[in-house]
């Protein structure tokens, strides 16, 4: 596919002057940043800062009434110029998204096996036998017992369900993994475990990861970082540098509170 070819540049996403407004009110404005290929980019900010809206814009999943300005280039191709069908194709084959609430990411009345199949193999057009072999190995890697496949979501903990989502990411090997507050619904122990697995995934697949979080501890695993406040980017740069020497007062406060 044409979109796949990475014509020059080491960035996979290039976001330029993106603004989104809904009913006359700006949700985000003047948002420009690049997402380096094969790296982890963290987007930090409190709720309402516009980080989830930015993610929705990248996915092309903004609410129907919202108006977007600016341009988003994915592998040098402007997402705004794609048809809805082409965008759905991108979401199916090249992206994978993990949401905050793993419990609600699964339909309550379907067994995990069927849901994981729908999220992975059926999208890639693979048969069920091939799926079972591969997913079983992945589940084992993620410390999930094999019998989760025959369970219903309500029988599993939030941490287990989030790991099931991660299993889909391992299976699909997406070009970009987007994780929207993936650890916020988990307890401390599960958070650390999840982060470890996420790093593991990054090391193994070399996928580009966009990690949205309000927790600096989680953002520490990223290479670069974008700090958002009130719909604007207030600071961007390498994580190590920002942690060492924050420039914007808001980032200073965040970093001071973290350490």
């Amino acid at each position: 596919m044409e979109v796949l070819s990475n014509k020059g540049g080491d960035h996979i996403f290039k976001i330029e002057n993106v603004a989104v407004h809904l009913n006359g009110k700006y949700l985000i404005h003047d948002v420009s940043f690049t997402v380096p290929k094969g790296q982890i980019t963290a987007v930090i900010g409190e709720s309402g800062s516009g980080k989830s809206t930015t993610l929705s814009a990248l996915l092309g999943m903004l609410p129907a009434q919202a108006v977007m300005e600016g341009s988003i280039l994915f592998n040098e191709r402007n997402l705004m110029e794609l048809s809805e069908q082409e965008r759905a194709g991108l979401r199916k084959k090249h992206f994978f998204t993990i949401f905050q609430d793993a419990t609600n990411s699964f339909s309550p009345t379907l067994k995990i096996k069927q849901q994981l199949y729908r999220l992975t193999a059926s999208r890639l057009g693979q048969k069920e036998e091939a799926f079972l072999g591969k997913i079983t190995a992945i589940l084992k890697d993620l410390n999930l017992p094999e019998d989760v496949l025959n369970r219903y979501p309500f029988e599993l903990s939030g941490g287990m369900l989030q790991r099931c989502m991660l299993a889909c990411a391992f299976y699909n090997e997406p070009d970009v993994l987007m994780a929207d507050e993936p650890t916020s619904a988990l307890d401390m122990l599960h958070q650390q475990e999840f982060i470890k697995l996420l790093k593991n995934l990054h090391a193994r697949l070399g996928a580009t990861i966009i990690l949205i979080t309000h927790d600096l501890g989680v953002a520490a695993i990223a290479d670069s970082m974008i700090v958002m406040k009130n719909g604007e980017i207030v600071e961007a740069g390498q994580v190590a540098e920002i942690f060492k020497e924050p420039k914007h007062p808001y980032t200073k406060r965040l970093v001071a509170n973290h350490f």
């Binding site: 609600n104 339909s107 309550p108 009345t109």
Partner: protein, 269 residues
């Protein structure tokens, strides 16, 4: 985690017993339900006629079993119809939301301000007729609660991540509606349908008791209570007691079963 649901086994068995005896009533009834015997008028319960006979010498037990078939048939048909209407109406309202939802809900509220029994009464009075027609009338007037519940479930479910994810991958609308939304409403629909069923039995009985339900010649639990009004005056207590008991026990069974599912359902939803 899963909470073990206690099945109300006793009530399920009792209800199943009532259902099977009424379904096979033509085989099980000791007498032909409309066979008159002028020598056996108003006999109190005895060895031959276990629940006594009526003013025409007909066997009360046989008529109760056959009448149960009519009552339960009306209740089932009306509940199936009202559930279908309620699911479609509530589903459209809840899924599409916005102006469609607002208009549909105001219409529904207008209906809800009038007790449905009154609407049924009016419709029955205009087009009184067969058992089928009565079931239809009860069906088209009994879907309000189902519609509201389906609507609120759809509104809750459509915002959840798994539905959003399905939309993200351009899952066809019908798959989202049936496979994701309706499928997850079934526990709630099941519970409200059970209670609607109990309500439908009660409506048939009430209407027939008022003389505008099932045509009087057709035995049903309601028409039997209707004729019992006169029979009680001549001291034939069994004419009122036994139909009343059957109605009471059936509705009780349905309510208890519905209640258990209502509680059990919470841990799932």
């Amino acid at each position: 985690m899963r909470t073990q649901r206690k099945y109300p086994l006793f009530w399920i068995v009792l209800l199943a017993l009532i259902f099977t005896t009424t379904i096979f009533s033509s085989l099980l009834a000791p007498f032909e339900p409309n066979a008159m015997d002028m020598n056996q008028i108003y006999k109190a319960p005895n060895a031959t006629h276990l629940l006594g006979t009526d003013q025409l010498g007909r066997d009360v037990l046989s008529r109760l079993l056959v009448g149960g078939k009519v009552t339960l048939f009306i209740a089932i048909i009306s509940v199936v119809l009202s559930s279908i209407i309620g699911i479609i109406y509530g589903g459209i309202s809840g899924y599409f939301g916005g102006a469609i939802d607002a208009v549909m809900m105001r219409i529904l509220e207008a209906f809800l301000t009038i007790p449905s029994l009154v609407i049924v009464l009016a419709l029955q009075a205009i087009m009184q007729g067969s058992v089928w027609r009565m079931a239809m009338i009860m069906g088209v007037t009994g879907w309000f609660v189902t519609a509201r519940i389906v609507r609120s479930e759809f509104i809750r479910l459509k915002e959840l991540e798994f539905v959003q994810m399905a939309k993200m991958f351009r899952t066809p609308l019908w798959k989202i509606l049936f496979g994701h939304l309706l499928r997850n409403c079934i526990p709630a629909i099941f519970v409200v349908t059970i209670f609607n069923f109990a309500g439908a039995i009660f409506t048939e009985v009430s209407l027939s008791f008022l003389g505008i339900g099932v045509p009087p010649a057709t035995p049903s639990w309601g028409t039997m209570l209707y004729t019992a009004q006169n029979d009680l005056l001549v001291g034939a207590w069994w004419m009122g007691l036994f139909p009343g008991l059957f109605i009471f026990v059936t509705i009780l069974c349905v309510q208890v079963i519905g209640g258990t599912f209502k509680q059990g359902g919470r841990s799932h939803i």
